[in-house]
Amino acid sequence: MSVSVNTSMPVRSHRQLLIKLLAVIALAFAFGFALVPLYDVFCQVTGLNGKTGAKPGTLGLAGISKPVTAPPSSIDRSRTVTVEFMGTVMPGLPWEMTPLTSSLDLHPGELQQAMFRVRNLSDKTIVGQAIPSVSPGLAAQHFEKLDCFCFAQQTLAPGETKDMPLTFIVKPELDKDIRTITLAYAFFIVTDTNPAAKNLASR
């Protein structure tokens, strides 16, 4: 080693500092992974990421607790909210998805239904799962789905076409600033090798 600490220099321990720095690095690495649950909790509390079915203020994980379907307290006829519908099919799933209802004008609190047409383009029976996302994210907590094809996996026979309904309420507690809500579905392929996706029940 070419480092020969000169005697006139105060000898400071490299090892001690090295251990401290390694501890900082380990902490930073752990912090990076801790961001994942932190982000989930943060989104749960604020409803930031547009996942529906989450109850702000409760820490139940989305997808585990069943939706609480309280009857609409009242219908807010003083304002109209536009809900737009989108459907996408993720790569690897040979399906086609079209919203039959492209948009709806409704009063918050009203019970509404939208339809989506899904077609299997392949010659195989395929299982798919739709994942919803609401924009703006803050509207998600007030978007209550009473019945949805995304609550369960959908099986389509070769060439089969299915119309899939969604029944929902936009709750009157929705922010006055929000006049348009976009609900986007993405259909994912469910493969046998993917247990996480199999157990999936998304709201």
Binding site: S2, H14, L18, I25, F29, G32, M90, S135, N194
Partner: protein, 530 residues
């Protein structure tokens, strides 16, 4: 250059450390901070030219609308790899190269604290660089989803994406080891009498940068590890099908990414803060405030990350928070700029090449800072997100900021490193070509961005044609001018007028008390700093 250093030092250094192997083995096994610094600098120069060549292809394609030379898929690979290699292969290693050469010399230490670790942190780089370059030749081509590696695009590519994750992991490990070495060297090995507040500002900026590296490189490692497991092991961190969220990647990535921006600029601040006082022949104005400004920039860098993601959908409160903290950074940065200007005030200024680059840095970096402030405004940012305005902004802070400060530093310290003066006439020519070509290239991009031209596209609407043609001419000139830089550096390394121990009369840091080039083992007896 390599052999001359050995011969020079062998003459007046015959104590027991001089049984170093010659030739290739010297460089492979070297634990000497000067050798490793040189290796870092050559490596980054090579990567600078490689990534620069990719940029030349980009500009050639964009010279006129329509598809000329490359297909869109290849174009996306070019922009992605240009960014990734310039950041991790050129700018960061060159700054570590400066730290290796200069930190021990400037604090009067004999070497870095962990010389073997130092050797390893360099030799990881060629491995990672080779992996990155090799991805161009694998099925599916190199990664093409942007250097920020956002899912879901990043989940869908081929083998190149896995190779790139490995390469970035290796680069991260190298950076972390380099940072540990620099921190321990600076905190433990300063010459007697050199208190923290007597350290040259370059050393201060690197100390703070090294702490940033230690804090955020592991977070990047986390983010890309999650990408890796999502791609290969069925996890769903970012995959919406399993309840993940791609936006979360952006949060984790930019928690690393914004401090990373300052990792690339703070040492550049340090270089400029060393050069300006030398050629103004005045001490740096406001040294203490400079130190605190650097520290506050480093602190603020941790709480501004979401300004990169204003368009992902964020509550108003969040947008305001990140907008205000981002604008707050203008205060310490402004302190630095004003201090630099005050250093020049009534100085006896001479305009050698390093000074020219440093002055251009102050002006052009400030322009980049101002366009950053414009982008910090949420309503404006939502208009300008992913347009050429952003491209113009970060090239003003990264090229005319970091890269031009690095060139300034190379010209400033080359006489010390090699013992020869560089060719001053050619150096000035290089400066003027670079400064003019840079502005021809990137200034029109502000207008393109304001007019709505999106970034990362190989083709564009007709109304953008004129500014793109101008930018391409400037870009090719800028690229060609850098060959002159290579020529000047090689020429200086091979010979030239002897530089003498003190080529710059205004320089007063410790490295100028040594011979040029400095002995292979310097400051074996630490100097006394008063």
């Amino acid at each position: 250059m390599n052999t001359t250093t050995v011969n020079d030092t062998a003459g007046h250094h015959d104590h027991d450390h001089d049984h170093a192997p010659a030739g290739l083995m010297r460089w492979l096994t070297s634990t000497n901070h000067k050798d490793i610094g040189t290796l870092y600098l050559w490596f980054s120069l090579f990567m600078f030219f490689f990534a620069g060549a990719l940029a030349m292809l980009i500009r050639a394609e964009l010279f006129q609308p329509g598809l000329q030379y490359v297909q869109p898929a290849v174009f996306n690979q070019l922009t992605t790899m240009h960014g990734l290699i310039m950041i991790f292969g050129a700018i960061m290693p060159s700054l570590v190269g400066f730290a290796n050469w200069q930190v021990p010399l400037m604090i009067g230490a004999p070497d870095m604290a962990f010389p073997r670790l130092n050797n390893w942190s360099f030799w990881l780089l060629p491995a990672a660089g080779t992996l990155l370059i090799a991805t161009f030749f694998v099925p599916g081509g190199a990664i093409s989803g942007g250097w920020t590696m956002y899912p879901p695009l990043y989940m869908q590519g081929g083998i190149a994406y896995d190779i790139s994750i490995l390469a970035v992991h290796i680069l991260g490990v190298s950076s972390i080891m380099g940072a540990i070495n620099i921190i321990v060297t600076i905190l433990n090995m300063r010459a007697p009498g050199m208190t923290l507040m007597k350290m040259p500002l370059f050393v201060w900026t690197w100390l703070i940068t090294a702490f940033l590296l230690v804090a955020v490189m592991p977070v990047l490692a986390c983010a890309i590890t999650m990408l890796l497991t999502d791609r290969n092991f069925g996890t769903h961190f970012f995959d919406a099908a399993g309840g993940g969220d791609p936006v979360m990647f952006q949060h984790v990535f930019w928690f690393f990414g914004h401090p990373e921006v300052y990792i690339m600029i703070l040492p550049a601040f340090g270089i400029v803060s060393t050069i300006l006082p030398t050629f103004a022949r005045k001490p740096l104005f406001g040294y203490v405030s400079m130190v605190y400004a650097v520290a506050s920039i480093a602190f603020l860098s941790f709480i501004v990350w979401a300004h990169h993601m204003f368009t992902t959908g964020m509550p108003l409160g969040g947008q305001l928070f990140f907008m205000y903290t981002t604008m707050l950074i203008a205060i310490p940065t402004g302190i630095k700029v004003f201090n630099w200007v005050a250093t020049l005030w009534r100085g006896s200024i001479s305009f050698e090449t390093p000074m020219l680059f440093s002055l251009a840095f102050v002006i052009l970096f400030t322009i980049g800072g101002f366009s950053g402030l414009v982008l910090a405004l949420v309503p404006v940012d939502i208009q300008l997100q992913d347009t050429y305005y952003v491209v113009a902004h970060f090239h003003y802070v990264l090229f005319s900021g970091s890269a031009m400060a690095i060139m300034a530093g190379v010209y400033y310290w080359l006489p010390k490193w090699t013992g020869h003066m560089y060719d001053e006439k050619l150096g000035k020519l290089h400066f003027w070509l670079t400064a003019i070509a840079f502005n021809i290239t990137f200034f029109p991009m502000h207008f393109l961005g304001l007019a709505g031209m999106p970034r990362r596209i190989p083709d564009y609407a007709l109304q953008f044609a004129d500014f793109n043609a101008i930018a391409s001419v400037g870009g090719l000139l800028l690229g060609a001018s850098q060959l002159l830089f290579l020529y000047i550096v090689v020429k200086c390394a091979r010979g030239g007028a002897p530089a003498g121990d003190q080529p710059w009369e205004g320089a007063d840091t410790l490295e100028w008390t040594l011979s040029s080039p400095p002995p292979y083992h310097s400051f074996v007896t630490p100097p006394l700093v008063k």
